[in-house]
């Protein structure tokens, strides 16, 4: 019997649980929240036999768990990860917090010792964007520059993490090492419709994981764009003209990965993009990664132990094919350079 635990029942966690319930080979899904009432409420809404569990401060797990999908706020992620490693349970995390991600990767030795696996950054970026970058390695002979951008947030916790990332120092990978950058360099990035062109700022999110997954890369940058905050109007007053038009990209998340390298003696670029409801895309990536860790989707990657990012852990092509089968479809930009 294959059992998984989904910890954290925000928008992403609930979608990940749904994906796991729909995965053949997963027999039992336990959903866990800080309070038992919330866990019961979500388990009842998911139906399909989901069980409820209240997360304790010490990171107790229900018996018989084969893998953990973590969508808890960043501060609680490391506690859960350590508890999972101690018990030899594989652990997938959706967090994009740079400090927490580094903390998860630092559990590498402990995970190897226990013969288990930690996969950090199982969301949009880091996560799906990194897998797309590794997929590009199949069409390029070498990769030397990676520029990843993400637009959109899944829920309130995700939005808070994104705002924090925009306040933290910008980190970019340059010449084989992480370097601080002063300028946030806001730039228009073209995502697939309906998100379209959005202003995105440089952040440090996921840069280390991308560099680790792409040995020899010279430059890595990550950008993040947030939807405009909702305009508040006083009761009885109409918002200013034009503001009532709903942004077509509300609720959508998008990633774009621009990969530069060489094909033979020719300079070449590959641009991949994905667009989907943010929580659905992130939840599907987390759910599929967890199902693989639990052994339900063995074709997605080789077994092993240690801590790494998603792109290092899974095989890009079957992973992307599995996501496409579940409705999260990647696209390639086919065009010509116009100087």
């Amino acid at each position: 019997m294959t059992s998984v635990l989904v910890a954290g029942l925000g928008e992403t966690g609930v979608r990940a649980a749904r994906q796991l319930l729909d995965t053949p080979g997963i027999d039992r899904v336990v959903v866990a929240a800080r309070t038992e009432a919330r866990a019961r409420e979500v388990a009842a809404a998911l139906d399909d036999g989901a069980e409820a569990w209240a997360l304790g401060a010490s990171g107790e797990f229900p018996p018989g768990i084969d893998a953990v999908a973590s969508a808890v706020p960043a501060a609680a992620d490391l506690v859960l990860a350590r508890a999972a490693v101690e018990r030899g349970i594989p652990f997938a995390s959706v967090t994009d917090d740079r400090e927490v991600t580094s903390g998860l990767i630092a559990l590498d030795a402990a995970a190897r010792e226990r013969g288990t696996r930690i996969v950090a950054g199982c969301g949009l970026a880091p996560g799906l964007a990194d897998v797309l970058v590794r997929h590009a390695a199949g069409v390029l002979d070498s990769i030397d520059e990676i520029h990843v951008a993400r637009f959109g947030v899944a829920g309130p916790a995700c939005a808070a993490a994104a705002r924090r990332a925009q306040r933290e120092p910008v980190i970019e990978w340059y010449g084989g090492a992480a370097a601080s950058v002063r300028n946030r360099g806001a730039e228009l990035v073209w995502f697939p419709d309906p998100v379209g062109a959005r202003e995105c700022e440089l952040v440090g999110t996921g840069v280390d994981l991308l560099a680790a997954a792409t040995p020899g890369v010279e430059r890595v940058t990550a950008r993040l764009g947030m939807p405009a905050p909702r305009r508040l109007t006083a009761p009885g007053f109409r918002a200013v003209a034009g503001s009532r038009r709903r942004d077509p990209a509300v609720g959508f998340g998008a990633v774009r990965a621009e990969i530069w390298g060489w094909r033979g003696r020719e300079r070449a670029t590959v641009v991949y993009g994905v667009i989907e409801r943010t929580s659905i895309a992130a939840g599907t990536v987390l759910g599929v990664a967890t199902a693989w860790l639990a052994g339900a989707l063995p074709d997605l990657g080789a077994s092993g132990s240690g801590a790494s990012g998603l792109a290092t852990a899974v095989e890009p092509a079957p992973f992307l094919a599995e996501l496409a089968r579940r409705g999260v479809k990647a696209a390639v930009f086919e065009g010509v350079a116009v100087a």
Binding site: T269, Y272, A317, A330, A331, V332, E334, G335
Partner: protein, 45 residues
Amino acid sequence: MKGYQRGLLVAGIAIAVSAVVRIRGQGRVPPTSGGWRELQGPDFR
């Protein structure tokens, strides 16, 4: 005269550097005209 020679030297260095950059530069012009195509079965092999 000295100022004139210095000016010539600076201009010469600038021309040499720009020539090197132009010849060795990798030209970052991403595709800007085209469209998105969904990845299909053959792309996943």
